[in-house]
Symmetry: C2
Subunit: 540 residues, 2 copies
């Protein structure tokens, strides 16, 4: 492996950057191993890994034999796949995901909070068991470990929500980097990453709050921080600590400490999307790294024809993401009816049963080139479930949105876009035909939504280095320097009460209380000198 | 003025960056106005302003007729100077600075803390009065204000320690940016900038502590935070609030609020120097922006000859900065004697009386090309007072240091370098000949110091965009977008007790106390049902 530190590049010496870029594929050749992250997370990480391959690095992905979106049988893939033969079948995994989606789309809204929490705990157990089984296939396979050690990887890339990456990095004795979107209440970022998050203006993720909160919202946010901390400790950290301790032969709190040793946290958002908040030097916000200019649509395609006859009204792009395949008849008819009332052509990615109320202006497709459509000059609006990937493509191209969030970070994502004036939210569970039609008319015909979407787009485009290049830079930095310890805060060496200076406060309180007590005793006995004995010492 | 948003540039499309850079001087032409910052601050900011001029911007510097280092009579300067005719003379300013230096170099170490504090307060009053007189020359000159308004500046650059910039920006109705190194205890950054600083691992500036503190150090740090907060409010904020209120006709706390509206804080340090700590998205760490590769020394110069005969032992570069011109005879002789014991050639920048103990290996110069000497391959060590500018040149070139800090941030700066293993500190007041000789021998002959200095150098050089380009980027960003509001945290809209969630805690405490009180009352009356009246309502 031959590394060459990049020169300090800038607009003043563009030829240096040019020469450096030309040399990249020759002089850089690192070995990257990836702990699997699935579903929409994989869609994002894949773009980063493809870029690493383009720059001359070797990428090996550890992939469970049963998974959602990682096609390890694709012979044209630029990655080397190391398949982990997990004991659960593809059907079991699909059924678990179906249950998960069904609960959040159809059941959760009718339940009490404690019922939701209980189901969350049960769902977490299901996925935790699968994660442990995935880990087992590696940590109990000494042959595979030896093979991976011999490969002499330079860095491991993981997602903290897909537990195990930090364990593998420890076993292989290599530094690791996280690619990360969010955890419930920011609890992983806060407790493991050390990310400071004042609950007064940093809304807990999944709450759908903004950075400007009323007293009641701040109270709600504060309590949710506590709730998620307890949930994390009880149902996640404690659950994994035993497993990690067994594997590594170390003491408790091992998961939290392991996660804290991530060299860099590549966060999949940026300040076009995020509310400004404190962060640490080893956190890099690379949201939009997967975005790219739209490619022209093939001239003979159905899509091209559909757009061609949209006229001055333009088109609307509609998708509920890579995980939601179908809707109830009632819901799909409500949506289709609303869409049929619009003068725009609607291009809907949907695999479910064709709704009866589908209008002539609406075309359904199994798959659409989402980024190319969002970048089309005739696109007027984007109807989205609020997944970060799609939402970033809308930001990139400056398209206003109608959000129909369902689960995970989707409520949060749409709340951000609503607060920034680039989206209108519609409630998935209570939505009526008119609600959706009104929302679409608002974002299309009230020009402030388009203006605000374009503002966000400008922020995304106007960065000193584009997100994909920044992400690659820090991965290569970690490979070059075998880590980035100079960016890791000393907070990780403190206990929680030391971090919050509670021991200092307790000491100061004790000193003050002692002084007050002595003064009180003296004043009670009438005279300060009464407190002192003949030799001037304090007497009780 | 014609702005063009830069493309998203990166190693993948170097030709884009090249094309962009080539177009810079044609398409960018902003108007920048600078509120004066003096002494070593000016040395640093001047480099940034020169770069702005090189990129086609017009730079106007508002400069007091009496100042320390801003030579507004230099006809070759690339800046336009607008001279503010201040009522204090050059002699008065020089004498005040002489008093300031004399106090910190010769008197402070023999005084009690409260005596030091009292003198600090008196010194602050002297400089505050001069600052107010400087502000007066502008805010009371409607002709000048009109002239500046007509110039239609796009951005103002200031240093928060040189108060007034934010006031001028408000009058001219333009966004402003800070270039900043530090304030006592980080108080300006914390209270005005909203920078989160947990006292458990973020050492207050000027304390000389590191990020890893014992309990007593954390206690000391915590108390210093409180002390500096009170000092700031009492002797700085309150002092300026009246002045700002008079000028702007607004309510109190005006200074703190004004400072909070800075679009970007360009901090003159980086993570090679800083201990990792939380920061905000509108803080950009651009330390080392003034550093550049060493130029070869002229072959016929005295310096070139001196270095030429240094042989294998190499040279030592020695300066106490741009403000310290001479030392007491005793001190200069202690230093000269220590230097005479070394086999290296010593190049000493010093304007004072030639010490009697000066060795033949030591040459004294009025001025030295410090950066070129530190970048010379024969340079073995740097003796420095610990000013940030010089220290960054040593980091840039990977030279180990002996620090003799005297005042301001110098103790802090050297403490950072000592903690990072690239320097040894010597106490200016108690230093003996052998102490200095030992310190120099340590950093020269114990190879870990050189290795650590080179590590810091690598961190400085290995950045995605070099500091000067990042600083220019954000200034141009603010000009392009008329601000950077999307980076400003909502913390600025909260009171201190809201920020720390104290109102939420008080509410929760009150609720808990009420419940406990009711339960206690019930249990005291023997039976819960006794607390309830016949209608089930709670009775007292």
């Amino acid at each position: 492996m031959a590394f060459k530190a990049p020169s300090m590049l800038g607009p003043k010496f563009p030829w240096l950057l040019w020469a450096y870029a030309c040399c990249c594929s020759i002089s850089f050749c690192g070995r990257v191993v990836v702990w699997p992250t699935d579903a929409s997370h994989w869609i994002n990480v894949k773009v980063l890994l493809q870029e690493l391959v383009l720059r001359g690095h070797e990428v090996t992905v550890l992939v469970p034999s049963s998974n959602l979106l990682i096609n390890y049988q694709d012979t044209s893939s630029p990655f080397t796949f190391e398949v982990l033969q997990v004991p659960f079948s593809q059907e079991t995994l699909d059924a678990s995901m179906e249950d998960f989606l069904n609960f959040w789309m159809n059941e959760a809204s009718n339940l009490f909070p404690w019922e939701i929490m209980w189901t969350m705990k049960e769902q977490l157990e299901v996925f935790t068991n699968m994660s442990k089984q995935t880990c087992d296939t590696l940590v109990m396979n000494s042959h595979l470990i030896a093979k991976l050690q011999q490969a002499k990887f330079d860095v491991l890339i993981a997602d903290p929500l897909s537990v195990g990456g930090e364990l593998v990095a420890e076993i292989l004795e290599i530094p690791f980097i996280y690619s990360f979107r969010f955890s419930d209440g920011n609890v992983v970022e806060r407790l493991c990453g050390g990310l400071p998050s004042p609950p007064s203006y940093v809304p807990a993720s999944t709450m759908g709050l903004t950075h400007q909160m009323s007293f009641m919202e701040r109270l709600q946010n504060f309590l949710f921080y506590i709730f998620t901390d307890l949930f994390f400790v009880k149902f996640w950290r404690d659950e994994w600590d035993g497993y990690y301790s067994n594997v590594l032969g170390k003491a408790a709190e091992i998961l939290q400490r392991q996660l804290a040793t991530s060299e860099i946290w590549l966060i999949r958002t940026y300040w076009d999307f995020e509310f400004p908040r404190p962060f640490l030097p080893n956190f890099e916000f690379v949201g939009g790294l997967h975005c790219q200019p739209a490619k022209p649509l093939p001239k003979v395609s159905q899509l091209h024809s559909a757009i061609g006859c949209s006229g001055e009204h333009g088109i609307i792009v509609f998708t509920l993401g890579s995980m939601v395949y179908n809707l109830s008849d009632e819901k799909s008819n409500v949506i289709a009816k609303a869409l049929s009332q619009l003068p725009q052509k609607v291009l809907w990615r949907y695999k479910g049963k064709k709704p009866e109320t589908l209008g002539s202006n609406t075309k359904i497709y199994d798959w659409i080139p989402q980024n190319d459509l969002l970048g089309h000059p005739l696109t007027k609006a984007f109807i989205t479930h609020g997944g970060t990937n799609g939402l970033y493509e809308a930001i990139y191209h400056g398209i206003p949105m109608v959000g129909i969030p369902m689960f995970a970070d989707q409520h949060d994502n749409i709340a951000h876009m609503v607060a920034k004036g680039a989206a209108v939210q519609v409630d998935f569970n209570t939505m009526k035909t008119q609600d959706l039609a009104d929302a679409l008319n608002t974002v299309i015909y009230n020009s402030t939504y388009k203006e605000n979407a374009l503002k966000l787009s400008k922020i995304q485009h106007d960065q000193p280095v584009k997100p994909l290049d920044r992400a690659v830079f820090w991965i290569e930095f970690v490979m070059r320097h075998k880590g980035a310890k100079h960016l890791r805060p000393a907070a990780h060496h403190l206990t929680w009460y030391q971090y919050h200076s509670l021991d200092v406060l307790a000491f100061l309180f004790t000193c003050t209380a002692t002084i007050v007590f002595i003064l009180f005793k003296c004043s009670a006995s009438g005279n300060y000198t009464d407190c002192l004995g003949a030799n001037g010492r304090l007497e009780s």
